[in-house]
Symmetry: D2
Subunit: 329 residues, 4 copies
């Protein structure tokens, strides 16, 4: 994920200590009891490692057993299924690719809900449809457990260095309980509101990011064709009202900035395929809430087209390359 | 114009002093000879006043004689036509609403070109089609004169305080000659390249501005409907990759920031009608140069629709209000 | 629904009579046993009446008891819940506003699936997400029953006169079993393929319809502003390659045709709100299947905006009125 | 051009015979005097031949002398410049690629206006910006001549067989005078209104055509991915409200119809590059008349993108192929 957070977000923590005291006490006594972790992919793997580094025993599971190898060597206990993890741990973090995977891990025949302990804390860091998060929270609540959504921004690099940003949705009284664990993996833990708002904040940011990125690419391409020097144009935009993160921090035009994907043939960064996925979530959320998102919707379609034109695994700033292709009829 | 320039742009001035010395010397001797000014509207009027303040005798003209009254009281000499201005002054600034007005003022039957003196310097600060600028420059050159495009950003406030930004296109050797005058009216004088690039820079910035503004409005509206607090959402965006001038400096959601048009019922600022006009110029430039501008084009259409829905004279950030209207079928 | 079917679609019926003979025989013996009907709204009410007219005893239910009154007077047996209907009838038709209603009627605590008889035939005529249809079919199959999706086109008029078009998805061997009932309510029964393809055909048609309608409205508006007579323009389009159902059968410009909603202040017809709903389904289907639908997606947004601008209950051809509004700044 | 006209458009001819009698008499006496023809490209060449076939002496010119060879062999007199043509003929037809060419041919240093005879009839069959047509008409009028715009639809095939459709704008009293010549080259001669409306009708039709074609391609692609058979889907659309020329006469999906470009790898037909050009004209006309064309504008961008992706010379129905490309990340 391309999101860059530049300073701590301490402004959000208004915990209701009275309620927290009661509900969290049981778990805080258990602070060195095992933490469950389900989903050991590119992101989940370094996240789970950081939990181990901070002294938490980890009980993990993944559909691909080979993904568990490295963590097992570090002392993690590997389980056959999410249900088995829920049997051993009352704090579980899930980090999965998409809504259907999350639903399967929670509701499946060997899912978390089959063996969930009362009082458990479930934190889902996947980026999924907020309405799925809400549904899981409802089910968890009925079973006497607590579900929070806590999607991340920052990418594999931040996951490895423990500098992720978490956008957390769920009961405010339980925010500190989740922070205890999330602090091991992230530098910024932002409380966003009720369940689903973590997802909402994430997909909102990424929708605006996509719009600004495509807008920057269109604008730079137009200006260059109109005879402007690309560095000069970037400077003019960045000192004017066209300034945005995509123009001043992550410029998509090769040669304008160093150290960004556009300077390296759009390798690394945040892939077009993942951006298309997040824009699909934004689109669904907008459709369901009857919210008009004209540019968001068109941006979704543009990234969808790019996936079919060979850009799926390139950084999403490669939209500039997609647009600049010349006509040579 | 909503563009805000935050620091001086001194990086651009690489004058070829040799050439300048020759060509400008005749005019610099004439530095206190009259300067022509055509177009005394909301912007032109305070601009011309600043020339007078700096000691330049002004010879002015406007199709509406009443517009000239105030300037006349300050000592300006009022002419009947642009041609008469050209007869009296060899440095002329034009500030007009749109391409057809500019063409009329230069090519009309009493136009500048009818009485243009050899060696004159023509500076057009209107925001128009770059191809029109190029055509005027060609005609001027044939007549032994020099034409530069120098559209502004900054609005009436900046015009009054002499803090406009000028984006200048034309012969680099003559940039300093134009700066002598533009410095009286602006704080940032940016050299952009050959004739037309001043216009190009301006319409590029405004196209990206429109895209980011609509994107910010869509995103804020979506987030709010998904349950996020609007101030919190703005903070999350501004510390993340969704950050842009429209979100952190000119947020379109009432209640998020003070001192911006959204805090004042979208009064003042940069009107939707003017944004629609600039997007039309960007659209034409893109069509002519066969440049794909998907979001730019849709943004143009959105502002066009807004003009017909009663937003023409509101600040362009009112797109948030346009989008948030609730369904109440 | 605005869809107009002009001739019978008899080309589709390639029934495997062998299989049908076996599976349907039990039900065909029961041809005068009760048929269940759930959802007695504007559409469901006349549809159920047509079943009664054809001699079928009807067992009905609706969340609003008052909706059942009229049908009860005609001899229908009214039940408290969908489950109770399933207890009495082994052929059930559902006609509901949207996916969540359908899920509730089938999966709810007093839903169809609670008392479903083995061998039952379930026909859902609601317009919903094809993936929901597929899920219901899977559940029904596990319980030894058969589910088919059969959304309609034709509106309240066609529902009353028994001239609906049904687009049917499900096992081809069971198509004739469904036809026995659908023939009482419709004039064209089209077999589209496996479960969900009935929905797919419907939302595909409506997506193209929306695109062509907005396109026609934009084009007529542009032509009129360019000085063309509206009737002449319609004629030119209709004899040329711009011809479409929206231009030649349902022209959105008042004064071009008689007997269409545009001739009657956009009253009646197919509402903008329903079109926006169907476009949301198309959008979701496209997002889930990673299919680019650039115009479909923008059309969705345009109808979404119109709902917030007071057009929700007007015919969807009122997009012309929406576009033609004049700027009067 | 892909436009297909299916029946004669005789409904339009309401000539004011009184006025015509006077003005045309001089020319009708001259009916076997030379007719000028400027622009002998793919379209102009067969058109000029048809004039010769009908017994008109032709005086022709083209910037590429080799283009004139064939016509010269048929007896045409070849001139060095448009001006020389105007010197010999008082009825002149121009058929050129774009607005700048037309302006050069009329206004250039050896242009038509240099040697134009009083009372001449100028007919421009190029597809260009209506505002350029209006400007030319004004100039011609000042010189005592008459200008009409008469763009064609029908393509090279129709040009060869003399079956073009002409959409004519200009003085209604002179329509018959133009018909005398246009009838030699076309089967349908439609009077559209004042000067520029011929162009307006043409670009309106092509804008709607582009929208419907892209809409059809998106819809067919979506339906196929949702499991529908492509021929079945086309049939459902064509008997329903989604029906349009692009779905029922020129279907873009290979295998649905025979004898259309999609059945022949998108060879022949109306090229994507020409469609992009016409959409640019529509876009300009819309921008200048402040008309919102949301789908028209996006369609322009889509065809613009396609030109850069290798589709420039393929038939414009290849947008289906453009959209269907699969993701294989």
């Amino acid at each position: 994920m391309a999101t860059i957070i530049r300073r701590s977000a301490g402004f959000l923590l208004k915990c209701s200590s009275y309620v927290r005291h009661v509900t969290v006490s049981s778990r805080s006594m258990a602070s060195k009891t095992p933490v469950g972790f389900i989903g050991l992919g590119n992101m989940g793997n370094p996240m789970a490692k950081n939990l181990i580094k901070h002294g938490y025993p980890v009980v993990a599971s993944d559909v691909f057993p080979e993904s568990c190898k490295e963590l097992q060597d570090l002392g993690a206990q590997i389980m056959d299924s999410p249900g088995d993890v829920a049997d051993r741990a009352d704090r579980i973090i899930t980090m999965l690719p998409s809504s259907p995977n999350v639903i399967e891990v929670y509701h499946g025949s060997n899912g978390i809900f089959k063996k969930l302990k009362k009082g458990s804390l479930l934190i889902d860091s996947s980026t999924i449809d907020p309405s799925v998060s809400k549904g899981l929270a409802k089910t968890a609540e009925k079973m006497g457990a607590l579900f929070m959504d806590a999607p991340v921004s920052g990418g594999v690099g931040a996951a490895t260095s423990g500098n992720l940003t978490f956008m957390v949705g769920g009961l405010e009284e339980e925010f500190n309980a989740s922070k205890e664990l999330l602090n091991c993996m992230g530098a910024n833990i932002i409380y966003c509101g009720q369940v689903g708002t973590g997802q909402a904040a994430k997909i909102c940011n990424n929708m605006l990011l996509a719009i600004c990125m495509i807008g920057t690419a269109e604008t730079m391409n137009l200006g260059i064709r109109l005879g402007l020097d690309q560095k000069l144009l970037a400077k003019v935009l960045n000192m004017s009202s066209g300034r945005c993160w995509s123009s001043d921090t992550y410029n998509p035009v090769p040669g304008v900035m160093a150290g960004v994907p556009s300077a390296n043939d759009y390798q690394g960064g945040f892939s077009t395929a993942l951006m298309a996925k997040d824009l699909g979530l934004a689109q669904n959320a907008a459709t369901n809430s009857k919210t008009p998102v004209l540019l968001g919707s068109l941006s979704h379609q543009i990234y969808r087209m790019m996936c079919a034109k060979g850009y799926a695994q390139k950084d999403f700033s490669s939209v500039f390359q997609h647009l600049r292709e010349e006509e040579n009829n």
